[in-house]
Symmetry: C2
DNA sequence: ATATGTTATGTAATAATATAACACAAATAA
DNA sequence: TTATTTGTGTTATATTATTACATAACATAT
């Protein structure tokens, strides 16, 4: 099992499991609320777990939403370039990875002497399901 | 002159001029602080001006920093896809536009039935100047 | 010119997101 | 064992953003 490869602490596991169970990204405070029953009490407990999980590559941060989502490909916990298409209707985030984009960006970086550490690509719009759902209003 | 094409109100002008004069992105509250001398008093005054300027395409929002920057190409105030390479040393943001990336992303959207409204691409790292500056430490 | 609709303004209060600082406990490694 | 690192729990606070409401400025159509 992918997510067992790394030893996680209690808080880290609670946060990761919750994110994996969620069908949409969650804010740090939404995570906290859900985990109060498990004994979490302060924002910092969540933020620290998130920092670690992001560092490992098991969680991604959606910059444009201040929200967090479990990596869709936890097995390949490469920290490679992934992007998200975020539906503004249902709030779900579709993760994608595109090597072509990665290549173009690294080309740009090379040309401009920019040393890239991390990249965030976020598309906002409406997902296929929600477009269909909206059609017959 | 590019920025004269649209009629801006006093607050919008103040915010835009400040961002244009700044060599790096600014937070809303940094903007507010700078404009207290001009009579601005509340965050909302800044946020409202920013919303308008972003809508017009004269300002971009850096999602990963909660900061705002004047568009580098104010003449072509197309709302097309632009990206930023943000230097974590000096804080400056280099704006770029890449039609290849736009194409790949719109291809992905087409294939996945996603209706895209806006896209954010942000690369974090170290700019050429700061790499040079750090070399001889 | 005046009524109407729209857009912008000013202000206060508050919500939502994130971090600093400190003391302590658990796991790891020397 | 001792030292070191890593994680925990807690309080307080910093930073970013919005809600709600009242008023003013401006356009334009009668």
């Amino acid at each position: 099992m992918a997510t067992a490869e790394v030893k996680l602490t209690k808080n880290q596991r609670l946060v990761l499991d919750l994110l994996c169970a969620s069908d949409a990204p969650m804010s740090a405070y939404a995570i906290l609320d859900q985990l109060r029953a498990e004994g979490l009490r302060a924002p910092l407990q969540v933020y620290r777990a998130l920092d670690k999980l992001i560092g490992i590559g098991l969680v991604h941060r959606l910059e444009s939403m201040n929200a967090f989502v479990a990596c869709a490909h936890p097995s390949c916990h490469s920290l490679e370039m992934v992007g998200f298409a975020i539906c503004e209707e249902c709030g779900k985030a579709l993760e994608f990875a595109d090597s072509d984009i990665a290549e173009i960006l690294s080309e740009w970086a090379g040309t401009n002497g920019f040393l890239a550490k991390s990249t965030s690509i976020e598309i906002k719009g409406t997902c296929a399901a929600c477009q269909t759902a909206t059609e017959h209003l």
